[in-house]
Symmetry: C2
Subunit: 262 residues, 2 copies
């Protein structure tokens, strides 16, 4: 029996600078490592690296904080200009703790609306790309044209999870594969049909890649995931990872949780 | 330069039955595949397989539903006996959608308090183990005694995440490694110190393993994760993955989110 092994291959690159072509840097690095893509590889890329290369950056000294930003800044201990950028980027502000504001952005629950000082050039913050799926498609098109291989691309960010310590990877954008496996109707080990289960393959992949990317000066903006159980398919985006809030198990429970005495 | 490759190696076993020794089954399967552990390997095991082998199972026909279970059963469309088991297992009931109840159990937000009919013998449901960390330590002790290797063990379950479609893997119990990397004080790519970042390595690993375990009749109750960037260490449990709810970014935001008009 042949084992279906999955490999996670880190691509450690030089520092990505604003304006640089990320695909060129990745391919050059891979050549220097004698590393080649294979058909069906998933290239997971840190969205931060894409944001920097595309200049999705704001210089904080150019930002004039509003009164609302000044007030929130005092409460959460983040500097006023940073908070102002978060207010501009967020679709809704939901709460805060010391040094982090819970926001809803592009239907995703995330700290600080994806605005991040970490690994951004000095004095600046990075913003989420306006269209992470289009960025993923663009990278995929260029990689496929250069290599002749059929690939999937995953833009990875990280976030904390409710009542858990620390960040895990999640999917910000994707191209070229089916991100959710619908198991409804499949049979379990005892032949009973599964009634509600779907698997978020994209977020599992993003978490796996996040393990090797780290959060600091790891210099691993990209990871090849080889042998993953994915279906290559051009018809999906990260929007397929969203659930109707009315069907979300957490949304109705949130109010109640805030009443629980811990 | 040597690439630090991570490998995910699935161990497809025969069906695990109540009372069977899971470690014996895994080692026998590995021998038949010419597969050996190496020092530093993480063995990720589906908690469901451990629960079945240890008989952490309830036969639904032995359960008499309470009035509360009958009422909730009508609202969420789950059968009364199942709901009764959930009510017994849960520390708090927070909400429900069609076919799933949001609960708090062992400080973890999870559907149905971890009670699951999926991949349980016909007519039964599996329950979370009373002490998943002790179960992980027990598996680790036996594996290390049999193989002479130094290993880490991770018990993996899956759950849905707020506003996301589908399940991802998370950590229910662990033994032998440090599950959270505290990056505070590390420098980022530009030499700025990280202020609040920690990485939930255990949940990233659990998600990676979940990719290969699937949710149906995959018959892959265990995955070896080889080459993962972990620190072997005996001093941690899954309790180190919990955050003080007062410091949790989501807890204060939950109430507000329930007011957002989607």
């Amino acid at each position: 029996m042949v084992l279906a092994l999955v490999e996670l291959i880190p691509i450690p690159t030089p520092l990505i600078k604003p304006g640089e072509d990320l695909v060129d840097v990745l391919l050059k690095t891979m050549r220097s490592l004698n590393l080649e893509f294979k058909d069906g590889d998933v290239l997971a890329i840190a969205d931060k690296a894409v944001a920097v290369s595309k200049g999705s950056i704001v210089n904080l000294k150019d930002v004039i904080p509003s009164q609302k930003a000044l007030t929130l800044s005092k409460r959460c201990g983040l500097e006023p200009a940073f908070v102002e950028v978060v207010l501009k980027e967020a679709d809704a502000i939901l709460g805060y703790v010391e040094r982090a504001i819970l926001t809803l952005k592009a239907s995703i629950l995330v700290a600080n609306a994806g605005v991040d000082r970490k690994n951004a050039p000095a004095g600046t913050v990075t913003l989420w790309l306006k269209d992470p799926d289009e960025a993923a498609r663009e990278i995929k098109r260029k990689l496929e044209a250069e290599t002749g291989k059929r690939l999937a691309v995953l833009l990875v960010d990280s976030r904390v999870n409710p009542l858990r310590m620390g960040t895990t990877g999640f999917t910000l954008g994707l191209a070229g594969f089916k991100p959710v496996e619908d198991c409804r109707g499949q049979l379990d080990l005892y032949g009973k049909p599964l009634l509600i289960t779907r698997i978020n393959i994209a977020d599992d992949l993003a978490a796996a890649a996040h393990l090797l990317m780290g959060e600091g000066a790891n210099m691993v903006p990209a990871v090849i995931i080889r042998g993953a159980p994915i279906e290559l398919n051009e018809n999906y985006t990260s929007k397929n990872l969203l659930i109707n809030p009315k069907e979300c198990l957490y949304v109705k429970g949130f109010k109640r949780l805030s009443d629980v005495q811990f």
